[in-house]
């Protein structure tokens, strides 16, 4: 098997493609760096010059407003130039190949490609074809990984719980299709969280999930018991009724997070969600807006985490 493609020969971050395979110290360093940027985002002048003169290309082959925007804000706060490309609507529809698109943008002097693609592994393909000074940051590929989301989730957990070594984290819902869940699971297991649980019907739990280092539960009452952290996953509307689930209502009945179900978790449990939320499907408003919810702070932390990642791959930080 070839060397981990996201680390350079010195073990530093060359690209960020997946949390899987990142050494524990490196994850901690990203989180520490993000913490140092958290101050920046609260200042009047929200800029540091770490990426001045560098170009960040937001290359989104799949639509996303939120993730793209947070990357854009993060890059601008690092003083980089940001170019947003909605590739889904332009070149690929004219038949240009993924690698041609990247080669063309590379000729326009990119430093960082922030890539979102519907196909698992696409950022790996791109990373094999970019120049040595160019860096790829995965902003979500298929069902595979969404490492900056995973890192911001880790950041959020660390912020509220301080220590990973004694936690029970429950991830609820459509684990099968979730890159968010995969990235978070790798992060949690790498950081030594003793119990990571996934909760959902068999149809939404992937084959051999236990091999990821998680305990599989099908009932919320058991899965949420004494949890310190509850992570609700987004259920895509196209999966709400069909062969995987009979209806959104039935999913909500069993797996939607209500105050009543949440009472099974620890009294100081935090509730997270990667957004955008389907209120009344995977999460009730009373919980989403309630005292346990840290969903909005997640968004804020996301900017600092993305600043950390981009500065570490391209800024020599």
């Amino acid at each position: 098997m070839p060397r981990n493609p996201q680390l350079n020969a010195n073990g530093e971050l060359q690209h960020l493609l997946s949390i899987e395979g990142l050494p524990r110290e490196l994850i901690a360093k990203i989180l520490d760096t993000a913490e140092s940027f958290a101050g920046v985002t609260e200042r009047d002048i929200k800029k540091v010059p770490l990426l001045r003169g560098k170009s960040v290309f937001n290359l989104f082959f799949e639509g996303s407003t939120r993730t793209r925007t947070t990357f854009e804000i993060a890059a601008k706060r690092l003083s980089a130039d940001v170019i947003n490309l909605n590739v889904a609507a332009s070149s690929t529809s004219k038949g240009e190949s993924l690698l041609d698109t990247v080669a063309n943008l590379s000729a326009m002097q990119a430093d960082i490609f922030v890539v979102r693609h519907g196909s698992s592994g696409a950022p790996y393909l791109i990373s094999r074809h970019v120049k040595p000074h160019e860096h790829v940051v995965n902003a979500g590929d298929g069902r595979h990984a969404h490492p900056t989301q995973g890192l911001l989730d880790l950041y959020t957990i660390r912020h509220y719980k301080k220590d990973f070594s004694n936690l029970v984290v429950a991830i609820v819902g459509d684990v099968l299709h979730s890159r968010v869940a995969r990235s978070l699971i790798h992060g949690l297991t790498t950081l030594g969280v003793p119990e990571v649980r996934v909760i959902g019907p068999q149809t939404l739990i992937p084959t051999g999930a236990a091999a990821l280092g998680v305990r599989v539960f099908h009932a919320m009452a058991e899965g949420l018991k004494d949890a310190d952290v509850v992570v609700m996953l987004r259920l895509q509307s196209e999966r709400m009724s069909g062969a995987l689930l009979p209806s959104a209502q039935e999913f909500n009945k069993h797996y939607g997070l209500t105050a009543e179900k949440l009472a099974r978790a620890r009294p100081d449990a935090i509730v997270m969600h990667p957004g955008p939320m389907n209120r009344g499907v995977e999460i009730d408003s009373a919980v989403a807006d309630g005292p346990h919810s840290v969903i909005l702070p997640q968004v804020t932390f996301g900017i600092a985490v993305r600043m950390a990642v981009m500065s570490m791959v391209a800024g020599g930080a």
Binding site: M1, P2, P5, E20, S97, L98, L99, H117, S119, S120, G121, A122, Y124, L125, D141, G142, R143, H144, A145, R179, R182, P206, T207, G208, A209, A211, L212
Partner: protein
């Protein structure tokens, strides 16, 4: 024309011969011993002399996919790989569903005089799984069997009737066992690796569910079924039971599936995007064992040249398949070494056994048989690389890997078609 292949280690799985000696050829056929002075002597000292390889699945990409490969390029690859007989699956464009097309392909291929070709006709028109092809006409044009290649027959009523019809005339049916619904959208073996990589899975039971249906249809129709590219341990176990029950079935496995597993996907290596998918290490071991114990009759290259554009894509979007004609011999040797088999036992899986399934007079060194021969150095190493492959398809999971077994000469009907 008289030819003498002199002083090699002659290995003939059919007769069990494995001894240093000469092989005499006259007018394109093997003869007992050379009468008079040969026109040419091929020195095979220190080399193995064996029947030319027979490959039951080699896509030559014509007609329709000439940008991926041509008859010329692929038959040269066959010659370089020591493959002297090959069966061509019907998934060309248009598919081999018309006698005229089959006739043209066969004539064009045979005119190159590089290998014997055996077209496999489409079982249904356009491989769509709806209407039966004119099997008798296709057989007359040279089709040796009928197949769907990788295309499913979704409608089991059609599958039943197709097998009945083929059985009526004694035509063999070659099919892959894969339930199209269970496999829908999948690109990798449904297991821990696909889960980790976020790739949509094809469960092993997509194979066994389909195989169960095929075996029942064999029982019902008496069709002669050849199961192509078995891929799972559970599939091998089912085939073992079915053969034990005396069903008229045979089967093959691809060269990649006895050596590789889903772990080889590494970081989304699209060279490992194959159909059927590479399954778990346990499945791979069961396939290698099944090939050794005779549950699986033969090893095939499943040669599928794909151009760079087809592989320079994210894993799920990449075109499945790998080039294989030039790797069939070295990968068979590697498998035989791992299973601690004799050279004759190893070579039987790529000569005698597939020749029997084809019903061809190939795969043996016997007086009167066509003089198809491969002369090779079983220990000579080489590194698989795009520049050394003659196939137009440079796509292989083995790129960069060192293998042993180099072909020094290939003879088809007594003609030297390759020498190195």
């Amino acid at each position: 024309m008289k030819l003498l292949v002199k002083g090699g280690r002659v290995v003939d799985p059919a007769s069990g011969r494995d001894a240093v000696g000469d092989v005499a050829i006259e007018d394109g056929r093997f003869v007992e011993s050379a009468a008079g002075k040969p026109d040419r002597v091929l020195d095979a000292k220190g080399l193995v002399v064996a029947p030319g390889l027979v490959d039951l699945a080699a896509r030559l990409r014509e007609p329709g996919y000439e940008y991926k490969a041509t008859l010329e390029s692929e038959m040269e690859a066959a010659a370089a790989g020591g493959v002297t007989s090959l069966a061509i699956p019907p998934d060309t464009d248009p598919p081999l569903d018309e006698p005229g097309l089959v006739d043209m392909l066969r004539r064009r291929a045979e005119a190159l005089l590089l290998a014997h070709v055996y077209p496999v006709g489409a079982l249904t028109v356009k491989l769509e799984g709806r209407q039966l092809t004119e099997m008798a006409e296709l057989a007359e044009a040279g089709c040796v069997a009928f197949s769907q290649a990788d295309a499913p027959v979704v409608d089991t009523q059609v599958l039943w009737r197709a097998m009945q019809y083929a059985a009526t005339f004694g035509y063999p049916v070659w099919l892959r066992a894969e339930d199209p619904w269970l496999a829908k959208g999948g690109v990798a073996h449904d297991g821990e690796v696909a889960t980790r990589m976020g790739l949509a899975g094809i469960p092993a039971f997509a194979e066994t569910v389909a195989l169960g249906a095929l075996l029942e249809l064999v029982r019902a129709t008496g069709a002669r079924l050849h199961v192509c590219r078995v891929s799972s341990a559970a599939g091998v176990a089912m085939l073992r039971r079915a053969r034990h029950d005396g069903l008229p079935i045979t089967c093959d496995v691809g060269i990649h599936h006895v050596h590789l597993s889903d772990l080889d996907l590494g970081y989304f290596d699209s060279q490992c995007r194959l159909a059927p998918p590479l399954r778990s290490a346990r499945d791979r071991d069961a396939l290698a064992a099944g090939l050794a114990d005779g549950t699986i009759d033969c090893l095939v290259s499943d040669h599928t040249p794909v151009d760079e554009d087809g592989k320079h894509l994210p894993f799920a979007e990449a075109e499945p398949g790998a080039t294989g004609l030039e790797l069939l011999l070295p990968l068979a040797l590697k498998w035989g070494m791992q299973r601690k088999l004799s050279l004759a036992q190893t070579l039987a899986r790529v000569t005698l056994a597939p020749a029997r399934i084809l019903g061809a007079q190939a795969g043996r060194i016997a007086p009167g048989a066509p003089a198809d021969l491969v002369v090779f150095d079983p220990e000579a190493p080489f590194r698989v690389s795009a520049s050394t492959l003659r196939s137009q398809g440079k796509n292989s999971p083995f790129l960069g890997v060192e293998l042993a077994g180099r072909v020094r000469a290939t003879l088809v009907a007594g003609r030297v078609v390759y020498e190195a």
